[in-house]
Symmetry: D2
Subunit: 366 residues, 4 copies
């Protein structure tokens, strides 16, 4: 437990917009346990006036904050930083006014992730109305863009409001699984396959036929095959990393667990690459990353070992029998490293705080 | 419900060897509900003397059979057909003596699945001691080998004891997902990827760290990557179907459900193939199959819709964006179509009974 | 498997009203596997025109019936018997017109269960508009009212339309757990405690905050404490059985499973009663009941052993340390013996069929 | 987040004996996140030499401690405090030598919980070999015995080694649910009923038929009816609180969740008590307790809201219809407030630290 040596006037006031969604509630959890961030404002369009602990009794005895309407004026008065845990397009509507009035935004929606607005528009079926900010936004995957986030920090400390686009859950796990191999140049060809399994919290808090317990329980299924909106986000990251266009064949699956996301990726690699070399490429890449562990060769991660935490675990094997195929599996908590936890990690960097502040939670080990 | 018009002396006496394992118990369930098969003998090496309903209280009020030791003499006296739900090598030890003495064997172990004994020996680390029978055994996937099973039926009706090697769970789902495309000639290249998810019953009934509730619950993980013993079985089937050597990159996953297996396969197909053509290839292939349903294009199957039944459901999509990749998902119950149910289906064909006898169970729909 | 020796013209045409709810779909499953009943009509107010197998893909390959609107004229043309799997008051609106026009009704709603309309009205907050039929309806718990159901059968065979009020899930398990002790006269006092745990399917198919996977998963909770609408139904049955007014302190709990209901009841008994006597009271009471098993003394039933079936299992113990308290636990499938299966059981009796026809399903044992 | 203002030499060195069991691993988690405690020694008889993070990959990146054999000399050298997460009798064998040599013991086993050694011996079928220490041990339920724990703190600060008997999981929830009513004098009679539901982690980490995923999943069952070893512990506490002998009729159930324990208790109360009065008795009793929340009248707690945390939530209702029965439900995490977390809470008091140090974890809210 780091003692930050700060006085109470050093607190950074935080607003969570969309605090009753799963990702928003999880941001609240991390902020409430954070040594510097202070939850001063939490919004929900429908539940304004209700205590957050009534919506989530887990907050009973921890916070007595009440929900407010997401009024920009009120947010600007109450907070230095706003986490936006809102559906896409809702951020486009809110972010410009917050930035303009000095509130730094950590956006968990998809609105500022994809640099090419035409690609955004074709996948999200919505006009991108904030292309100026889009060029300034930093994609908040610290393992990829730590320097860019640190550059934001310089501007933040000078009093400027900055914008982070926090990554999606599938893109985070897929990127972490692919980055070392792609960066090292051992991957052949122009596409990778990502076959992923998510817990049901990934489908959001709105009740639906798909999220009904009796539908989701005791069943697995693929969905959104070859059409999931996270595809262009993955392709942007993997292409950036590889230095050439990489496309992604992506199949998400739903499995009966609340939290957890596993991406198993298939990367065709050069025949000269050995198991040891591949393993070392991954170990070296993540050696100094506080949140990414690489397991011993051919040990595969369980999502249960990272659920409730902000950590990622990676395991890999090389199928050298007939084809030189690297199989890499990355386990995260879709709400932790896949959403809220990573958003706080990025915010810590932007604010110049220790990167693990508030997210070095001891997750349940069982 | 078919009325078979048989008298009680037409009953076929059935022994289940290994009746307390999950697959063995499931064979008992189907046999106990079968109009012609009669469960006359059920064995368990350790629990001999115990009522089956004490091991599985679900049989209370349904069967008062007691377990016996797996003594070949006793099996020969008691049964016309023996289902062997035993670990590999145990079947090698028992099958020859049963066949020789006139008992037809439906073997659920891996011992007679792989036609090349050297491949068997290298993957199963055991000597194949029954290669004569191996050449006679028919691989019991009715959708592939119905004619061969019907040929066994001719010999069975002439009083000969015959041998069926019932397929494994992953090979069944992978074969059903790949066969139409491979047979039709639209698949390019020499390998396919099968990414599969299984319920925990696939790991067997023996308590272990992996099958502990608190380990398996709320977690998904890959295991046996690029090394699972079902790989040569899949490659044998897919190569037979394709008419050329096909290798399989295979990643099984464990998910927190009791029953259910989903195989999602990636098949690179010719660029000339359209969505409609691919869909029709699958629909035509399975049009007359009683146990295989092909869902509407891009609708993906849930394992929950087949759990407890012997059915398979298939859904498919074509990722035509950049690569021509067919993504086909096949859902089965690993104990139903993936083991016990399919074994009974094959036995029905061998015995000249309606193929659906005893396995046309109305599975729970919720 | 019973061969009923009937020709196809002996089929009894069945309509299921509310076929897409969980109980309704389960009635469809049993009817589709029934040797005499034939599913000729299935209704859903909103999904008229849709194939049932589209709503529940588990029916793919089993039934191609399409859903219809619940029009009384159409029901009368299509069916001899109607199962009403509808919310309370909906049956009051439909049953009279069906009965009047010759359609026998098996009502799974609460509308005709409670003999005193004032009690119905005070608990269900609705006017009872069909009190004439209420006096004729038989409460369809065969273990309690088999003779009354057989009397209905006489009238049914004379061409009369009759009415069965199928019991609720909690009342079924509570009644089965209490009846032998109450009938035998060993219970002291004027109240019993029933502490029950239900799977989530008991909450119905409508998506809600409570049925969301992420709410129901990994959690147990009590609900409707001292106020659940099944209380008067239980009290009516237990009082009838005891021959004096018995009130019920009832606490239902929700647990993370799809199907299954366990009622653990606490019955203060005379100090002279021994363990053996109590055990024998239960064994004798249910000795000839085809669907109720009494386990060995102090062995407690698992809901997993009856899930998917229509069976009930009962275990009991006597806490003789300080207080003479009998603790009796009854496990059922809330949709099986607790709803649809028991409705079919009652229908079988009414129709003069073997009581187990179509419901002697081999449930998954694992 | 409290900043304790301590230097590193203020650290208190902690040993966890039995660190690979579920409760032991959970103590490790809390100690690793504690501002003052430092995990210096962790033992496992069989896995000595193995890194703890190999047994529980959730510790990867958090702790690189390796397991040691539970050698008393080594423990005495390494630690100021030892948490004993061991089976009963194992603590009797180890505790005296640790106390004698100056190591304070927080014992999570049952060995020092029951003040009357004859009762211990009759329920645990083992000789109590440490009756001197038994008289000195404090039962570590802070809501009941905070003053006694604070008295231990005085002795601890004077350099004396002291002994805390941390309560069992069922006794904790049952005591918290009963204490306010019993203390207030509104409870009639001489017994209470506690009907409880536990997650599977309560059954421990050893693989067994009962903890097999396929047995525990999708099923609930009662077990240990009227014979569970936690009964005398509950009776001791409730009798102490009531000031007269109270016996407990106790039925534990197993439900398919990893963590969580719900005790629903039935307390016959005086007819003069109103709902409001009862509610206020509970609210007043726990108003200043940091870990116990009382929900609004008739709102019942979910275990999911406390899983992963050390908190308890209580809801209650009064069934005033015919009998004056209070129904009180208390939700805890069986490993949190029910074991490891409460042990750390007691240790904090003994060490004179803020009571919430290290256990004020932000539990996952979803």
């Amino acid at each position: 437990m780091v003692i930050y040596g700060m006085n109470s006037h050093d607190k950074i006031r935080v607003c969570v917009v969309g605090a009753t969604g799963f990702a928003g509630a999880e941001v609240c959890r991390f902020v409430l346990g954070h040594p510097v961030f202070e939850l001063t404002f939490a919004t929900d369009r429908k539940a304004a006036g209700t205590p957050l602990s009534e919506v989530y009794p887990a907050f009973s005895g921890i916070s007595d904050i009440s929900l407010s309407a997401p009024d920009p004026d009120a947010i600007v008065s109450a907070a230095d930083i706003a986490f936006l845990a809102v559906p896409h397009t809702a951020s486009l509507a809110l972010t410009p006014s917050l930035i303009e009035r000095g509130v730094t935004v950590i956006d968990l929606s998809a609105d500022y992730r994809i640099k090419d607005p035409h690609i955004y528009e074709s996948w999200y079926k919505a006009k991108h109305t904030s292309t100026d900010l889009l060029t300034q936004a930093v994609y908040g995957l610290p393992e990829l863009n730590r320097k860019e986030l640190q550059a934001l920090s310089v501007r933040y400390k000078q009093g400027e409001a900055v914008l982070v686009a926090a990554p999606g859950c599938y893109p985070t796990a897929t990127a972490l699984a692919c980055m070392p191999a792609l960066e090292s140049g051992v991957v052949k060809g122009d596409f990778v396959i990502s076959d992923a399994i998510s817990g049901v919290s990934g489908a959001g808090r709105a009740p639906s036929a798909r999220t009904h317990y009796c539908h989701a329980n005791e069943s697995v299924e693929a969905y959104g095959v070859a059409s999931h909106r996270h595809i262009p986000e993955m392709e942007q990251t993997l292409s950036q990393v590889a230095g050439r266009a990489i496309s992604v064949v992506f199949t998400p699956h739903l499995a009966p667990l609340t939290r957890g996301l596993l991406a198993t990726v298939y990367l065709p690699v050069n025949e000269s690459v050995t198991q040891n070399e591949l393993q070392r490429i991954y170990e070296r890449r993540y050696a100094s990353e506080p949140l990414v562990s690489v397991l011993a060769y051919s040990n595969m991660p369980r999502t249960g070992s990272v659920a409730g935490s902000v950590r990622a675990q990676i395991g890999l094997a090389l199928d050298a029998r007939l084809h030189h195929m690297a199989i890499v599996s990355c386990a995260i908590d879709n709400l932790g490293k896949g959403a809220a936890g990573q958003a706080v990690q990025a915010a810590n960097i932007v604010c110049g705080l220790p990167e693990m502040a508030g997210i070095d939670v001891a997750a349940p080990v069982i």
